[in-house]
Amino acid sequence: MIGGLFIYNHKGEVLISRVYRDDIGRNAVDAFRVNVIHARQQVRSPVTNIARTSFFHVKRSNIWLAVVTKQNVNAAMVFEFLYKMCDVMASYFGKISEENIKNNFVLIYELLDEILDFGYPQNSETGSLKTFITQQGIKGQHQTKEEQSQITSQVTGQIGWRREGIKYRRNELFLDVLESVNLLMSPQGQVLSAHVSGRVVMKSYLSGMPECKFGMNDKIIIDKAGKGGVTNEAGKSTSGKQSIAIDDCTFNQCVRLSKFDSERSISFIPPDGEYELMRYRTTKDIILPFRVIPLVREVGRTKLEVKVVIKSNFKPSLLAQKIEVRIPTPLNTSGVQVICMKGKAKYKASENAIVWKIKRMAGMKESQISAEIELLPTNDKKKWARPPISMNFEVPFAPSGLKVRYLKVFESKLNYSDHDVIKWVRYIGRSGIYETRC
């Protein structure tokens, strides 16, 4: 299991050091600093073995978090734990920075004592941690016996993510379908790979212990309902809307997985506040919001001509926002002239790229940029690698075609029904890695 956990600043100074196992000595702290943080070459693996001791690390801004062990631990668990640790810290004191860590070191030690015992991860849900690990630290004495046992039963219980007795005057639900669409396209316009990775993020402000059921236009369910040919309702829902094929999805721990496995229905008791309900991935019938058509011509050894056309491919009534096209330039670029029809374009020498920004663009439109790049003559025999042209944007629909069909709320003990809950749904499609080779 995890033998110890260290947090370093960018210079390699230790900010937090907690050792759980006897086989980890103080020299482990230095070994990681010398061999990884101060290593002459860039680290080429997140797992390093130094003298039969294994180090796992992740970096957040310029802070290094390292787990050390001498045993054959579950490597995936260690990284998942480190991510979780970052989430917990972030929810307690915001950004993970040297200053924040130093300011909260007592709290961090307290958290580390609670969420790792003898190197075994324990309950790490911020919701329940915050009920008894507080920055004031004195809450312990003023709790009644009932409160205490409520805390412990929540920490160890089946529904560790939600406490009892939550009350809201207005029961409200916010549902965001956030998708990032990824594309790799050949210069000839052939799709090499494309997929959407989506997240359903929820903010729930509901009283009591509500039971929720979430439905979407998942092909498997809709086909099932259609095949059964059951009621008129099923007929209605399948006729108009199109269903989508979901390759795979993963759920927040509140979702009953066995129920999903058997009936493919998503039912859960939601955590309070904001959380990620599910993640999914689709690869079929993706709506690619933009098409990039590059044209690069080398004119002699000292000049390049670049022309890039972008075409928007969605309903004309919708507006894409925050559009940015990044055209890489060779390292030996000496000067650039750009002309674009829309938006603003600039050559950024420090980033070796021409950055073209457009604030808004409606569907079924087209725009283009052309640039002349002057090059310094070099002796470097190595050819320029021609990195792909990348794009960023935001569109108000889900490129995978996912639609929320329903979100039902049941709370039998309190007197509010599904109709009383105010629900908001929003779709946002963003660019993930959206690249066209040139």
Partner: protein, 893 residues
């Protein structure tokens, strides 16, 4: 107010000042001081001298202060054991606190203080906490047992904490169950054979129930534990799989990987034809792909594991090659791993896409990545014959870029392509030769020289080219020197000079540099060539220009037994390093090797070499082994004076024998043991070279110092060297399995032979064989998998402690029912009782008693088999007619 100020302290008199502050009357001041102490401790300053002052602050009702003091205690208690005792009272008191959080805190901290005296005081509070009404305290106490075990294992056993821990598996709270499982798994790792966890179907059911309810971490502990369970049949395996598959949709990648591990292991037990098997395979693919959309570190762990899964079961991901295409912004460690998997998945169906990608990668920036991409193109050419032409032209394009390291890497892979497809792509040699000057790496130079030598007859200026290398002969690396030497000889043999004299001068001037070398290999090779050429050029031609064996299609494959072991470690560090745990873990942990479960019942006829062998080859192999009778006859002709005679001549009276359960009258053979041990004296050829592409295996079984061995001689009668040996036994009557992998680590060169002694034990799965002592073996090397079978002489199963107490013997003998009795006679044996008894004793058959009845010697004998079965025998010796009566009880099975 911020805490960062504690990190900045004035150096001088710091400790002194802190001491004063720690003894301050005001509570707030004391707390501030303890914080400063902890900050100093974190930075690595030694603040152990403040021990008594800090411990004084422990008696407080301020929880935050208490936690800080505990943190300090955990760090320094070991260096100040006497002082640490001061804290005991406070711990014991806290364990009685009405607040469960404080009880748990006390028991948690106490377990982290590794001082013997404190541990003694820990037992009572721990016992109470294990039965605490609050689950939070119980789950903490469960982990505390593991802590205590790490400090003092004996105490944990003596105090009965292991039983309490086992009881917690049935706890009503899922988190308590998960922690108990984690603690028990860790403890049982240090006692590999203790069966501490006692995984039986009831317990498994409890674990599966808890799996649905506990935290993500608890699910990981439970799944990792489940993967160590061996279901008794395929139905149980299937029902566990059904309950584990929903975990594949968990957001935590470690839960997913641990579930994959359980499924990959149990898949071994499911029949391949079944629908469920195929559904399960289909279900495995999407979650594995989803892991690749996680954070880069998890992607890395996932990719290392996918690399193993793809080798074990390529069908799972064969459709998914696109997801392994490299993204421009992937971290380098992800890129390199993806590339590896791409090559493994490359096939005729997707080769066009793969090649286009690889060509793209070859123009990237990172040198390692580019080299690997170029190498990958070469491997595609070798793997998919249809694509070879396209690969070669891609490589040529890359050579045209003149990027130094790309050119060199390309030349190395082109050499391999030439080896695979001789006489096909020589037209490109001219292009290669253009780049001669830019080659500065030994690998590339050697490859180029090899190509020139191999195709010397088609290169007009081959002699000039080689001469250019000769100039700096002594500065080259050995690899280049050796290749150069051979290339020169090849050139000479292919383009002989006109006259004898020229020959002489040519070879002498060119080979002679090697004569002065310090390297014996090089010098010897030089002399050998020189003598060969000067005495018999015709033979030289046969030797040097002999036909070369083709190179294999797949490279870099993990050796199958190791692969199987790694599959059992999916998700763990072992799977990331691709090394078994004992290669990087010290001490007792992880020494116990894991094996994939083996399917019961019918022999698996699948392509996987692990699951024993197809039946047909074994039958063939069997015919190779001389029938017992013949062999025995031969042996006896050698006049070794065995205590018994040839079986054909002995008249047998057989009772209804039920020896190993199920009418094993083949144990008729019964007491074949008496003479079968002779077999062990002479190695037999088990696997003749003609049946195994040049590999010959002969061997014997023996028992030395209480350990069974399979002594084998491997002889390579083929022209190519052999590597990657591995051995596997089919299930057999005695559960014989090798205890170590086959200890052949160096390649076996042509006409070389190697003797190995493989230690065996009998803890493997049992299946009745016919004849009983038949053992089916599969041996694998880089060329193929071969099957043979051999008869294990029964005497190697006779354990040393087979001497039964006289009284016990008497009692048992009487209890044997008559129908279990078997008698037969052995004629024409001319030995007296003492000689017989002495000979038998050598094989662990002990004489318990001897008496003389009516002129006949009666010997009473006992022996014990490794599987715990006792065999008792009465031997009546009459001159010319020893009458052998065998009785045996079944004691255990």
């Amino acid at each position: 107010m911020t805490d960062s100020k504690y990190f900045t302290t004035n150096k001088k008199g710091e400790i002194f000042e802190l001491k004063a502050e720690l003894n301050n009357e005001k509570k707030e001041k004391r707390k501030e001081a303890v914080k400063k102490v902890i900050a100093a401790m974190t930075v690595g300053k030694d603040v152990s001298s403040l021990f008594p002052d800090v411990v004084n602050c422990m008696q407080t009702d301020n929880l935050e202060l208490k936690k800080l003091v505990y943190l300090y205690l955990m760090n320094y208690a070991k260096s100040q054991p006497d002082m640490a005792i001061m804290a005991v009272n406070s711990f014991v008191k806290d364990c009685e606190d009405p607040n469960p959080l404080i009880r748990a805190l006390a028991v948690r901290t106490m377990g982290c203080i590794r001082v013997d005296k404190i541990t003694e005081y820990l037992c009572e509070p721990l016992r109470k906490c294990l039965k605490d009404e609050d689950p939070y305290v119980r789950k903490t106490a469960a982990v505390c047992v593991a802590k205590l075990h790490d400090i003092n294992a004996q105490m944990v056993e003596d105090q009965g904490f292991l039983d309490s821990l086992r009881d917690l598996i049935a706890d009503s709270n899922p988190m308590v169950v998960a922690n108990a499982v984690a603690a028990l798994s860790e403890i049982s790792e240090s006692h590999p054979n203790s069966n501490l966890l006692d995984l039986n179907p009831q317990n498994i059911n409890k674990l599966l129930t808890a799996l649905n309810e506990c935290t993500e971490w608890g699910q990981i502990f439970i799944l990792d534990c489940l993967s160590n369970y061996n279901p008794k049949d395929e139905r149980e395996a299937q029902s566990i799989c059904e309950r584990v598959t929903p975990r594949l949709s968990h957001a935590n990648s470690a839960v997913v990987l641990s579930a994959v591990k359980v499924l990959m292991k149990f898949l071994e037990l499911l029949p391949k034809e079944s629908d469920y098997y195929n559904t399960l395979l289909k279900k495995l693919s999407p979650p594995l792909v989803t892991l690749l959309s996680g954070e880069p570190e998890v992607q890395y762990v996932a990719l290392r594991n996918i690399n193993l899964i793809v080798q074990k079961r390529p069908e799972i991901l064969k459709q998914e090659i696109k997801v392994f295409f490299v993204k421009y912004n992937d971290p380098i460690y992800v890129k390199l791993e993806k590339l590896d998997i791409m090559i493994r998945l490359a096939s005729q169906a997707n080769i066009a896409q793969v090649l286009a990608e690889l060509k793209e990668y070859a123009t990237e920036v990172d040198v390692d990545f580019v080299r690997k991409a170029v190498r990958a193109i070469g491997r595609c050419a070798i793997k998919v014959e249809q694509s070879a032409e396209r690969c070669v032209s891609t490589l040529l394009d890359l050579i045209q870029t003149k990027v130094n390291y790309v050119v060199q890497e390309a030349i190395v892979v082109i050499r391999d392509i030439f080896r695979k497809y001789p006489n096909k792509y020589e037209s490109i040699i001219a292009t290669l030769c253009e780049n001669l000057d830019s080659l500065d790496e030994p690998d590339a130079r050697a490859a180029m020289i090899w190509i020139v030598g191999e195709y010397a007859e088609r290169i007009d200026n081959a002699d000039e080219l080689l001469e250019s290398f000769l100039e700096g002969f002594h500065d080259e690396s050995t690899q280049v020197q050796l290749t150069l030497l051979t290339a020169i000889v090849k050139l000479f043999l292919k383009k002989p000079s006109e006259t004898q004299e020229e020959t002489h001068t040519y070879t002498h001037t060119n080979i002679s540099p090697s004569f002065d070398s310090d390297n014996p290999d090089l010098r010897d090779r030089g002399y050998i060539y020189w003598r060969l050429l000067s005495t018999d050029p015709v033979t030289a031609k046969e030797v040097v220009l002999s036909e070369k064996p083709l190179i294999s299609e797949e490279t870099d494959l993990i050796e199958p037994t190791l692969l199987d072991e790694l599959i059992c470690h999916i998700g763990s560090l072992a799977s990331v390093y691709h090394k078994p745990p004992n290669a990087f873990v010290e001490g007792s942990h992880g020494i116990h090797r894991k094996h994939l479960p083996i399917q019961h019942g019918s022999i698996d006829t699948g392509e996987s070499p692990v699951s024993a062998g197809p039946a047909a080859p074994i039958e063939q192999a069997q015919s190779v082994i001389p029938s017992q009778g013949d062999l025995l006859g031969d042996l006896l002709n050698l006049d070794l004076g065995p205590p018994v005679n040839v079986p054909q001549q002995s008249s047998m009276q057989m009772g209804a024998v039920d020896l190993l359960g199920g009418g094993l009258d083949s144990l008729v053979t019964v007491c074949m043991f008496i003479f079968l041990y002779l077999l062990s004296l002479f190695p037999q050829i088990w696997l003749p070279a003609v049946k195994a592409k040049g590999l010959e295996i002969s061997g014997t079984f023996s028992r030395r110092q209480g350990q069974m061995y399979m002594d084998m001689t491997f002889t390579n009668k083929a022209l190519q060297h052999m590597t990657d040996f591995a051995i596997q036994f089919n299930k057999n009557s005695f559960g014989v399995i090798p205890t170590t992998p086959l200890p052949i680590h160096t390649p076996l060169m042509p006409s070389q032979s190697i003797e190995v002694s493989l230690p065996l034990n009998t803890i493997g799965p049992v299946m009745k064989m016919d004849p009983l002592n038949n053992l089916q073996v599969a041996v694998k090397n880089n060329i193929d998998v071969f099957y043979f079978s051999g008869l294990i002489p029964l005497n190697i199963f006779f354990v040393e402690d087979g001497k039964m107490e006289r009284q016990v013997f008497l009692a048992t003998w009487k209890d044997i029912p008559n129908e279990n009795e078997l008698q037969y006679q052995i004629k024409e044996c001319h030995l007296n009782a003492d000689t017989v008894s002495g000979k038998l004793q050598n094989d662990n058959i002990y004489t318990i008693a001897k008496r003389n009845v009516e002129g006949q010697d009666m010997l009473y004998q006992s022996l014990k088999l490794t599987n715990g079965i006792w065999i008792l025998a009465e031997l009546r010796i009459q001159p010319g007619n020893p009458n052998y009566t065998v009785k045996h009880p079944r004691l255990s099975l």
